[in-house]
């Protein structure tokens, strides 16, 4: 275990985590992703976030094997202390989306009723579609309940999932995969489903499906998309809070 200690030991409360390795690894794999994305002329599988995630897990897996410990143990002791520091910055980064939202306050004032109605009705339709798709793919009730609240931000989706008979860890995983997918595939999906003709709809969709990462993508597409994705992040979380528990109850999931 001494070599593992070299990477920081969060498991021993007296030593505490050493954060340098986690921060270094996160930056290194993300920059490798950016480099690959650049030299492949923007191939979607080389999106920096996706490369960073896969490469990061692979490197941790290799090192865990090298030191003869399990992957979760090595993750907890070596990566998590640094990862948690970076993770914290998602808090201020989330509230930063109030700024692109306020910049297009004209659109918010004009369409607030359409926005709120679209998110509520769209969410209910999505819940039905997701329910029947998961049922069709043969998932059990526990897994289906874990799939329903994934449009909300992780901090809301996890407790709702637990309260409706789902597995919070699966829901958290779904939220992460949502964000990674939307960041990688947004351009393709927008083209295929012709979402660009309606910037308000595209923005709300990106914020709902991709959380804050989807909003960052939407900001790149345009100021209206960015503002709409920002408002979607807040409103859809509240909608999930209100709509998912009765829906799960109605479908007999708990």
């Amino acid at each position: 275990m001494t070599w593992v200690n070299f990477f920081g030991n969060a498991l021993d409360p007296k030593v505490g985590g050493i954060a340098f390795f986690g921060i270094f690894l996160s930056l290194a794999v993300f920059l490798i992703g950016q480099y690959l994305f650049k030299i492949s002329n923007g191939f979607f599988l080389f999106q920096p976030l996706f490369v960073g995630m896969v490469l990061g897990i692979f490197i941790l897996w290799l090192l865990a094997k090298w030191f003869g410990v399990s992957l979760p143990t090595f993750y907890m002791s070596a990566y998590k202390p640094g990862g948690d520091i970076l993770f914290w910055f998602l808090n201020p980064a989330t509230i930063a989306f109030a700024i692109p939202l306020y910049r297009r306050n004209d659109v918010v004032k004009k369409f607030w009723l359409e926005i709120v109605l679209s998110l509520i009705v769209g969410m209910v339709i999505s819940l039905f579609v997701i329910y029947y798709v998961s049922k069709g793919l043969g998932l059990n009730n526990k897994m289906i309940a874990s799939m329903l609240p994934q449009a909300a931000t992780t901090a809301i989706a996890m407790p709702i999932s637990g309260a409706t008979g789902g597995i919070p860890a699966v829901t958290a995983m779904a939220c992460i995969i949502n964000a990674v997918l939307i960041y990688a595939l947004a351009d393709v999906l927008i083209k295929v489903f012709r979402l660009n003709s309606d910037p308000v709809g595209a923005g709300l969709g990106l914020g709902t499906a991709g959380h804050t990462v989807g909003s960052a993508k939407a900001v790149q597409l345009g100021s209206i998309q960015g503002a709409m994705a920002s408002i979607a992040v807040v409103v859809i979380s509240i909608v999930v809070d209100i709509v998912v528990p009765p829906f799960a109850h109605m479908m007999g999931l708990f």
């Binding site: 976030l49 980064a93 109030a98 793919l137 699966v170 779904a174 995969i177 489903f193 960052a216």
Partner: protein, 147 residues
């Protein structure tokens, strides 16, 4: 574009506020939000950053905080979002077992469902919005042009 220019001029009236002041505004909004968050009941969780986003918007809309006081910090943080999500992605190393616990087939189906759910959410929400916009336009004769 008119409003874009309006915000531009609003921004150029003042130099951007010093970065420590901008950080302090972000920190205070987060701190106040973290005090509000526990007031919500357990069955209706509203986490700190969601309250913070709403609070920051209200402060901007009521002109208590001006754009030049937060703009630079916000643009910087938003440009970092994809990177800040790397630890969440790598965090999956800790719980990869949820995909294998109920057998490999369930795991694959779970991933397929998540991929489909992502696309469903994007498309259904976007099309629903387009529908409501069409209703506003055709039934209530409201202009839905935005630039």
């Amino acid at each position: 574009m008119a409003s874009n220019q309006a915000t531009k001029t609003e921004g150029t009236e003042h130099e951007a506020a010093p970065i420590l002041q901008q950080m302090c505004i972000f920190a205070s909004v987060l701190f106040v939000s973290s005090l509000i968050s526990p007031l919500f009941p357990k069955s209706f969780p509203v986490p700190t950053p969601v309250i913070g986003l709403a609070l920051m918007y209200v402060l901007l809309a009521s002109h208590i905080i001006k754009l030049y006081q937060v703009e630079k910090m916000a643009d910087f943080l938003i440009s970092l979002i994809a990177f800040l999500f790397v630890p969440s992605g790598i965090q999956m190393a800790n719980s990869l077992n949820v995909f294998t616990d109920d057998g490999a087939l369930t795991g694959v189906m779970l991933i397929v469902t998540i991929i489909l759910a992502t696309i469903i959410l994007l498309v259904v929400i976007s099309y629903t919005t387009a529908g409501f916009m069409a209703i506003s336009r055709k039934v209530f004769h409201k202009s839905t042009d935005v630039q």
